[in-house]
C-alpha cells in the first residue's frame, strides 16, 4: 500500500477499520505490516484518499 504523506492527516481512520490490524500509526507515520492482505478497506475508509494500492508485482 502507498501512503501519500502530502494527503495523510494522521487521523487513524484506516487503523481502526483494518480487519487485519495490519496498520500502525506512530503520530504521523503510517506503517503497514505483513498481515496486510490488500483487502483495500483502508483505501475506501481514508477520508482524504491518502492511501492507494500498488499494482501487483
Amino acid at each position: 500500500m502507498i501512503v501519500s504523506i502530502e494527503k495523510c492527516m494522521h487521523c487513524g481512520a484506516c487503523v481502526g477499520s483494518c480487519p487485519q490490524n495490519a496498520i500502525y500509526l506512530n503520530e504521523i507515520v503510517l506503517v503497514f505490516n505483513d498481515k496486510c492482505n490488500r483487502c483495500g478497506r483502508c483505501v475506501k475508509t481514508c477520508p482524504v484518499g491518502a492511501i492507494t494500492m500498488e499494482a501487483k508485482k
Binding site: 487503523v15 475508509t45 477520508p47
Partner: protein, 396 residues
C-alpha cells in the same frame, strides 16, 4: 531496555483514558497513562458536543475554560428542508454544550495527574505483553526509546484504532456498515443558527449526517460522517462535505480555520471488555452511540466505572477477569440496552430514502413529540408509517 512497573497502565489520554486514570489514582492505585501524541487533546477528531447531564453524571462541573458555547438544543433537518427543533433535555447525550476539546481533554488529564497518576507523552504502545495467557503489560516506544511497562492491568483506551484489545486477542474488528468515515472543518465567518446544534440527514451524507455545531459567534464545527459501505471512491467523504458547503448559502460565505479527519464506530458495544489483566474503555470498547456518533459522555461514564473498579482491584492486587466483572456489570447497566437499540434503529434509518426521511421528519414535527428519544421517534413514525417500523416492532 528500560523497565517500569505500575498497578495500571492506561494506553491513550482521551476522556475515557484520563477518567479511568483519575478515578483509579484517586482510589490509591499506582497509575501511568501513556499518550502517543505530543499533546493531550490534540489533534482533534470530534464535533465536541455533549449534554450537561453527560458531565454531571461523572461529577464534572462545566468550566468556561473548556466550554466553547452553550446551545439550547438540536435542529434536525430533512433532505427537503423540513425542520424538527428539539430542546436540550430531549435531545440525548450529545447536545447542550460544545466543548473546546483541546482544553477539556487537558482538564480531565490534569485531574488524573492531581490524583497522583503519571503521564508520559509521545509514548506509544506497540504490543501487549502476555504471560501464561494473561496480559501483564505493554511494550512501548517513548520519545523514540523502547520501553517495557509491566502492570497488573492494561487499560485499552486507544480510541477508534482499538489496537491494544486486538493485540491481546479480543476481536474489536468492525463491519463496513458499522463504520462512519468523517471530515470536519472549523469554519468561520458563517451565518449558521448560533444556539442550536444542527444535523442534516439524507443523501447529502449517505448513512450519516452533516453537522453544524456552534463554536461561538460566526464560527462552528461543520462536518460530515458517511457510512463506509456507502462509499465508492477514495477521498469521497471530504468531497461530500465540500459539495454540501458549496450549496448552503449560510456556509459558502465562510472559510476554514482547521480541518480534521477521522472515523467512528456505529456498532453494538464489544461483547467483552475485560480479560485477565486487561480492561477496554471508550471508543476502543465501541461504546459510541450508533445513532448520534457521539462518545464523550459514554466514554467518561465508562471510564469512571473502570477507574473505580480498578482502584478496588489495585488494593487487593487482583486484576483477574472475575474480580473486574463489576466493571462490566456497572457500565452495561448504564448504556448497553440503549446502544443495542440505537444500533438497530440505525440499521433501519440508513435504508430510508430522502422522500421517506422528509415524510418522517414532517410527521414528527406535526405530532409534536414532547421528548424525542429514539424510542419516541419510533413510536411517532409508527403512527403514520407502520411499514417503516415493522422490522423492530419488538423494541416498542
Amino acid at each position: 531496555m528500560k523497565k517500569l512497573n505500575y498497578d495500571i497502565v492506561v494506553v491513550g489520554g482521551g476522556p475515557a483514558g484520563s477518567m479511568t486514570a483519575w478515578r483509579a489514582a484517586k482510589a490509591g492505585a499506582k497509575v501511568l497513562m501513556i499518550e502517543k501524541r505530543q499533546e493531550i487533546g490534540s489533534s482533534l477528531r470530534c464535533a465536541e458536543g455533549i449534554s450537561h447531564k453527560g458531565l454531571y453524571k461523572v461529577g464534572i462541573t462545566p468550566d468556561p475554560k473548556w466550554v466553547s458555547t452553550e446551545v439550547a438544543g438540536a435542529r434536525l433537518v430533512s433532505p427537503g428542508g423540513h425542520l424538527l427543533q428539539i430542546d436540550e433535555k430531549s435531545a440525548g447525550n450529545e447536545v447542550g454544550m460544545v466543548l473546546e476539546r483541546h482544553m477539556f481533554d487537558k482538564y480531565v488529564a490534569s485531574e488524573a495527574a492531581r490524583a497522583g497518576a503519571e503521564i508520559m507523552l509521545k509514548t506509544s504502545a506497540v504490543d501487549v505483553i502476555k504471560e501464561n495467557g494473561k496480559v501483564t503489560g505493554v511494550k512501548a516506544v517513548s520519545y523514540g526509546e523502547p520501553l517495557t511497562i509491566k502492570a497488573g492491568c492494561v487499560v485499552a483506551a486507544d480510541g477508534y484504532e482499538s489496537q491494544v484489545a486486538r493485540w491481546a486477542g479480543i476481536d474489536s474488528t468492525l463491519k463496513p456498515t458499522d463504520i462512519t468515515t468523517c471530515f470536519q472543518y472549523r469554519m468561520t465567518n458563517i451565518k449558521h443558527v448560533q444556539d442550536y446544534c444542527e444535523f442534516i440527514i439524507g443523501s447529502a451524507a449517505p448513512g450519516g449526517y452533516v453537522w453544524i455545531f456552534p463554536k461561538g459567534g460566526d464560527t462552528a464545527n461543520v462536518g460530515i460522517g458517511v457510512m463506509l459501505s456507502k462509499l465508492k471512491k477514495p477521498g469521497e467523504v471530504k468531497g461530500y462535505l465540500d459539495k454540501y458547503i458549496a450549496k448552503d448559502p449560510r456556509l459558502n460565505c465562510g472559510q476554514p480555520v482547521e480541518a480534521i479527519a477521522g472515523a467512528v464506530s456505529i456498532s453494538p458495544p464489544l461483547e467483552k471488555c475485560i480479560a485477565d489483566g486487561l480492561m477496554i474503555v471508550g471508543d476502543a470498547a465501541r461504546i459510541i452511540d450508533p445513532i448520534t456518533g457521539g462518545g464523550i459522555a459514554n466514554g467518561l461514564l465508562q471510564g469512571m466505572h473502570a477507574g473505580n473498579v480498578l482502584g478496588r482491584c489495585a488494593q487487593a492486587k487482583d486484576f483477574t477477569e472475575a474480580n473486574m466483572q463489576e466493571f462490566e456489570d456497572l457500565w452495561r447497566k448504564d448504556m448497553e440496552n440503549r446502544l443495542w437499540r440505537n444500533w438497530m434503529a440505525k440499521e433501519k434509518f440508513v435504508t430510508l430514502s430522502d422522500k421517506t426521511l422528509d415524510s418522517v421528519i414532517q410527521t414528527i414535527a406535526e405530532v409534536g413529540v414532547e421528548k424525542v428519544t429514539v424510542y419516541n421517534l419510533l413510536m411517532a413514525i409508527k403512527e403514520k408509517h407502520p411499514e417503516l417500523v415493522k422490522e423492530f416492532e419488538e423494541f416498542l
